[in-house]
Symmetry: C2
Subunit: 262 residues, 2 copies
């Protein structure tokens, strides 16, 4: 597999898609609800996904695409090369803030992440990694993640998961909130994973993500020595929804054993 060629194309298309997205800031968005009133999609999400699919199919006709907006293939198994794409991760931020969203792409081969991209369009910050070759932010190598004490950790965790909700007893994570130095919440899983990869966050926890939310980040975070699993410490399923815990190595184990499984 010519990963260098695939990488070159992916970057070129990311920059092109970024330009198109920035141009839409001056236009009126069409916003629709998907599964529920907090699950939104815009014409820009859809057009961006179609932009990538057209280019991938043209250049790599044998590759398949799993995309959030459903314009790709019906991917039932991960054999061969599969691009897992979220055209706009953080759609709510895109609509309300015109910032704090990203394009996320993971390119997998027989189920193994080979290339990962998270492109913060507004700040023109491209986080990327190739398996075994390190992770980078706009060309600068990201250093390996260093251990951190839980009392000095900043973790990203939405308020949803410490009040009554359908996925986790709020009393499980509340003690973790008290133990850490601080919590944040940015509303884009891809950016939150990029922030763990760069050390701006020490961990990111959420109770439900789809593969396109974490596929790009998975490759990048693992490449700097971070750990990506579900909150119980088990491997993520790439073809379904998962809880997700992304953290520095020692911190990951502490969160799983002292707080979640205790």
């Amino acid at each position: 597999m010519n990963w260098e060629h695939i990488d070159e194309c992916a970057r070129k298309w990311l920059k092109e898609a970024g330009v198109r997205i920035r141009e839409t800031f001056e236009q009126q968005l069409t916003v629709q609800m998907k599964s529920n009133r907090k699950d939104l999609v815009t014409n820009v999400d859809k057009e961006t996904e179609q932009f990538f699919i057209e280019r991938i199919k043209e250049t790599f006709p044998e590759h398949r695409v799993l995309g959030e907006e459903g314009f790709g293939d019906d991917v039932g198994a991960l054999d061969g090369v599969v691009w897992i794409i979220d055209p706009i991760d953080g759609t709510m931020n895109f609509i309300h803030q015109q910032r704090n969203f990203a394009i996320s792409i993971g390119v997998f081969h027989d189920g193994i992440g080979q290339l990962g991209y998270i492109y913060d369009v507004v700040h023109d910050e491209l986080y990327y990694a190739q398996k075994g070759k390190g992770a980078f932010l706009n060309g600068r190598p990201l250093p390996r993640l260093q251990p951190v004490e839980i009392s000095e950790a900043i973790i990203s965790l939405n308020t949803t998961w410490v009040i009554e909700n359908a996925r986790i007893d709020p009393s499980v994570l509340a003690p973790l909130v008290k133990a850490v130095r601080g919590t944040r919440s940015y509303g884009s899983a891809a950016l939150e994973m990029a922030y763990v990869a760069t050390g701006r966050l020490d961990a990111y926890i959420t109770m439900r993500l789809s593969p396109w939310d974490f596929a790009g980040g998975l490759v990048i975070v693992e490449e700097v020595g971070g750990i990506v699993t579900n909150v119980y410490g088990e491997p993520l399923q790439l073809l379904g929804q998962n809880s997700v815990l992304v953290a520095k190595p020692g911190l990951h184990e502490q969160i799983v054993t002292k707080y979640i499984r205790k």
Copy 2:
């Protein structure tokens, strides 16, 4: 009072301070704890406050300064001109992230906010307002805030306030979290106020801030029609700690009457 001259000086000093702060990114920080393990200060916080105080005292010897790091005056009353300064709002972000922090300045005259500045140093975004003359981001006027339904609102609220804490029963704000479209938390009161002023957030709620955290934001948010009070809807005390609720007009009333005082 020559507010134009004061404004001109404030902007010049903010840009100069920003350059100095950016230069420190390559250096080793000295981090100390203040009141508790989550309350941090660095040499850069201190040096930046001293930078402003020197210039203010030199140029406006009759003005007084109330600064977070305590290098200013012992301000017991708000007569005359008082600069209320947070040299780095979001010190924890400054240390961990080298972003998501801001310099915050409010210039008050006999207790009335006349000038407000929030400078996002890393993104070179200066939010500012002069009372009665509108609010601006890097020279572009900020439009007046429009009403929003609570179900479509994004509010900034830290997880701390929906778990057991010393300041508010967690059951008070949990129903609000369920009612809104989403919650975020950025870890800098000044930036969170700037985000309300620009419409990126619809409200910001926190249970304890000092005057230097909100003095600049107060002038900016009020200038675009936003409301700034404590969480019970009462005016903020400028010489003590307060809970703070910053929101669009209709939303502010709904949060106070339907959730906090209900």
